[in-house]
Symmetry: C2
Subunit: 336 residues, 2 copies
DNA sequence: GTGAAAGCGCTAACAT
DNA sequence: ATGTTAGCGCTTTCAC
């Protein structure tokens, strides 16, 4: 408990009766040093409980093995799952993860730099809406960067995106099996949100292919919340347009909101209203009726981001990449 | 874009025609330097876009302003909310957060040290079950540490815990208003889990005060999952013991599982079965019937942990503290 | 009020 | 195969 200053490389060198360079070599380029010496050094390291000082190491190598990840929010199934995937992958690759949710104080960040730039080797930032601030900062710092949710490959930035189109098309087609195109609606999240727009677009195209030109009220935007789903559903009920309708929601929460409102109005799901969500979060499979949804491999998105970032960090000159992750319709009780 | 090596303190000193010491003072002890000089230096800093190198800084000061947080898992409403609170508070206090979920590879960790010890100024670790490994490592590193969910104040470790007893008593009393003590059951999480045990204990005591000595089958342990709730409820139904019963669940997921199983068996909640959950996660207020629950201030737990940790970091000699956060019964539809 | 100089602990040439 | 040495960029005495 009477803890002294931790052992330095010099202490080890002295104890093993070699130079600090040799100790360093044993750690960083084994094979460059004779087996006998290595053994001596290892023993000294063991005995002294030596751990390299990461600051000194970073000062020389300019690497910290810490990666930043900036998310719009850190909360909820969605981000939480993404973060889990990122964390696991980072660990697997020998890196640590520094988190930052942008939500908390937009201006505070501007001032100080939300992530410990200078300390991290690279950063994964999720950009769900047009918003230059953070990634510009990163570019300025010429820090390795990968963006989530936006394809910036053309601008020379590694990207990881979700293939919203495929899943949306599957879901829409599925809805069209039992609902006429003019009775289908996409109830999305925020207008500005990239995913929202991409899903809305694919939804519209699918209807068009089915020979129907979408009316404006068939694609609506709101928020990613249960409340918004309920809100929309209530107005639809008021206009007597929910019974017999098919709904593709922007995420599972919205879908659940629609289900709730429908049930409150005495409408049976799926018999009278068919609902499909998006993301395949836990909520969708927990509630009754279980909600059909377009599965998004959230953990894999996080993992891919980290994998891409690490590759960039260790290989600054590699060509810019864009990983596109698949989505897939999961049919449950809410739509059949 | 043709980014050169970032400006160093030396560059600034040269540009401002002062010594590096002065630049350092301007940054770290303003007031020690003349206004005119300060201005000159500030300008140079501005023009060169100078940012102190955190490694060099850390090497001298032995502080990184990075805090570690180790959670059993990073996923789900519970941890996610806790993490959110921690992140916000850390940012507020000028620190960054390095996350680590212990779940992923117990042995991997052992080898390399899961958190970047040596890089972080302190660590908050959540200990939900007896498990020495991580916190022992931290103690060895004589790193400031705060534990969550376990009161280790007596052992000289700052702690942040939740007052399970109060909420549990409230919940039990509430159940007893409409259910006989012999018909009440606590359906907990893992046996080893500290919260589980504390809640079970308080549950037992409450019944005792109501004049009833709990039977062994009135306190059961399992997992923190919907499935476990269903599982337990099904066996209770099979034994015809669920109708007319009151259930205090170890968390909201278990509670929801019980509700689901009850409904599947044609039992009405709350009329025939009264259910109270724990934690007050989003799930509890989303589903129907809305689930009564004992609210745990998760975000505040995270925030408190960080606050305590920062205090310890900046004040190593302060007396050991234990923050006890209140819990509170929230009555919703599932129990009235 | 400011400068000179000594490290913090490490890695990476360059010698040997 | 190993030792010597020169920094990496910063803070902090100690002089002036």
């Amino acid at each position: 408990m009477a803890n002294r200053r931790p052992a330095s490389i010099q202490d080890v060198a002295t104890a093993a009766d070699v130079s600090t360079a040799t100790v360093s070599r044993v750690l960083n380029s084994p094979g460059l040093v004779a087996p006998a010496t290595t053994a001596k050094v290892q023993r000294a390291i063991q005995e002294l409980g030596y751990k390299p000082n990461l600051f000194a190491q970073g000062l020389m190598t300019r690497k910290s093995h810490v990666l930043g990840i900036a998310l719009p929010d850190i909360h909820g199934e969605f981000y939480s799952e993404l973060l889990r995937g990122a964390d696991a992958e980072a660990r697997r690759l020998g890196y640590h993860l520094l988190v930052a949710s942008e939500a908390h104080d937009a201006r505070e960040q501007e001032r100080e730099g939300s992530l410990a730039f200078g300390l991290i080797d690279g950063v994964a930032v999720m950009i769900t809406e047009p918003n230059e601030s953070l990634w510009r900062e990163a570019m300025d710092a010429s820090l390795p960067i990968v963006v989530l949710d936006t394809d910036l490959q053309a601008r020379g930035v590694d990207s990881v995106v979700v293939d919203n189109a495929v899943g949306t098309r599957q879901a829409t087609a599925h809805l069209l099996e039992s609902v006429a195109p003019e009775r289908c609606t996409f109830v999305g999240g925020p207008t500005e949100n990239f995913d929202s727009r991409a899903r809305a677009l694919a939804f519209g195209e699918s209807l068009k292919q089915a020979g129907w030109e979408v009316r404006p009220d068939q694609v609506v935007y709101g928020r990613y919340s249960v409340e918004w789903g309920q809100e929309w559903a209530r107005t639809a009920i008021a206009a007597d347009r929910l019974a017999g309708a098919g709904v593709l929601a922007g995420n599972d929460e919205i879908a659940f909101g629609v289900v709730l409102a429908a049930q409150d109005a005495g409408l049976d799901v799926p018999r009278q209203v068919r609902v499909v969500g998006f993301d395949d979060t836990r909520l969708a499979s927990l509630v009754r009726p279980r909600i059909s949804t377009v599965r998004v491999p959230l953990a894999e998105v996080g993992a891919s981001a980290i994998r891409t970032l690490v590759h960039r960090v260790e290989n600054r000159e590699a060509p810019t990449s864009c990983v596109r992750l698949p989505t897939e319709l999961i049919i449950r009780e809410s739509s059949r």
